[in-house]
Symmetry: C2
Subunit: 228 residues, 2 copies
DNA sequence: TGTAGTGAACGAACCAGTTCGTACATAACT
DNA sequence: AGTTATGTACGAACTGGTTCGTTCACTACA
């Protein structure tokens, strides 16, 4: 049988000189892909859709990222990197323990709130049982320092006698994360069910204040909590 | 005009009597579908896969549920119903406020832990911006009573002078939910990142105790929390 | 009591649209 | 010239949904 050769368009455009910028190409693709994955999930996102939104063709995605999962993995890493880099902004050096912890919780609350895309990626990744996070050494490396702040604050608080001893820094981090993460991750359904907008500024302030207070009261030394 | 009559097979088979059981059929399909959606999400789940796992053909899914989204919606409702029904088991009548709140938090913690499928459905639904929950009056109706327990416990506690006044029952519910939900929803990534199994029984006990304590300390009347 | 009619329950095969991924061609840079 | 970068067209497989026809239980009536 005869091979059918396609006619090729000989000349698409010569007016604009194509500037080669592989790094820029990667960044542009990754940026768009991150949004799409965060919005639609891994299976929900469409490679063609991502390609259409970039300045490049689908071919470029495969050229630079191999396949859909490779692209997703990079988007996941990207999300973690951005957020962890942002966390480096937090400065609590020199603050006394209570003020430092307050600042940490407030910062985390706001930070999560500002990075909904990240929250969504983490949710999606949990849906996938961490299957992709598992493949990324980069992400694990990024995160080991995530408890540094709270760990130091807590130690200092215990030393100074304002925090009770015996608590675990990772568990404290867990508690802070839970309160701040949930605020973003479950806002939609929670608001719908209780008919109240949990994203409203005044409401957010209250939730933030509550979260701070919960942590402060939890670590506070003074007297024991009510007996059960 | 001539009526076209269908040929009828007079007597084909008498060995296996087909038992018509529409309710059973629906239940079987819904049960399998719930698992598949919770596992793979809306776009990730495959109708053919669901059909293959049921005792029926794909045709029946469309016969009973219309389309994929209809099936998903039913699965979502099903998840909420099951969990809310389970919550009705909680009996705190007669307990003093502190004991009641302790029991409530412990119960919620365990209940969420036991219903991972539900947690996953809620996550998935949040990824979809609550698009399907929005369509379900049934779910909203189910949930309005969700804060009854905590609301009554809190009022009683304030009356009896053991809880501080001025707090909001829905926000308390929010806090309990955050702690208990996060424990299931983010366990995978959290465990991976910090290299500790947050699903281990001893660890779960600690987290549960922490959660209870956080709530108790938060509502406790006595003296003010550390000033910041 | 037998039988024709009826509608609900069900299955196999199919269809049309979608989606990931690739082959081929070509332009730009070194 | 050779390597890198890029676009276009396209195919194979998949997937949601439909069509057509069959099976079965039951009812009305001869």
């Amino acid at each position: 049988m005869a091979l059918i050769k396609k006619e090729r368009k000989p000349k698409p455009d010569a007016s604009t000189t194509r500037i080669q910028d592989p790094e820029g190409t990667r960044r542009n693709i990754l940026e768009i892909a991150s949004k799409e994955f965060a919005l639609n999930g891994l299976s929900g996102a469409r490679i063609d859709e991502i390609a259409a939104r970039t300045r490049f063709s689908k071919r470029m995605i495969y050229y630079y990222f191999g396949d859909k999962e490779g692209l997703y993995l990079r988007a996941l890493e990207n999300a973690y990197r951005q957020v962890r880099e942002g966390e480096a902004q937090l400065d609590i050096e020199g603050l006394p323990p209570v003020a430092a912890l307050t600042r940490l919780v407030e910062f985390t609350f706001d930070h999560h709130h500002r990075h909904e895309e990240f929250i969504r990626m983490v949710m999606i990744e949990n849906i996938h049982h961490g299957q992709y996070l598992e493949q990324s050494d980069a992400i694990r490396e990024l995160n080991v320092t995530a408890i540094d702040h709270i760990s130091r604050i807590y130690s200092r608080g215990v030393e100074e006698g304002v925090f009770r001893p015996g608590l675990d820094a990772i568990e404290l981090h867990w508690q802070v994360s839970a309160l701040c993460f949930f605020n973003v991750s479950n806002r939609t359904t929670f608001s719908m069910i209780f008919g109240r907008d949990f994203g409203a500024p005044a409401q957010l302030e209250r939730l933030k204040r509550n979260s701070v207070e919960m942590l402060l009261r939890f670590v506070a030394k003074d007297e024991a909590p009510a007996e059960r």
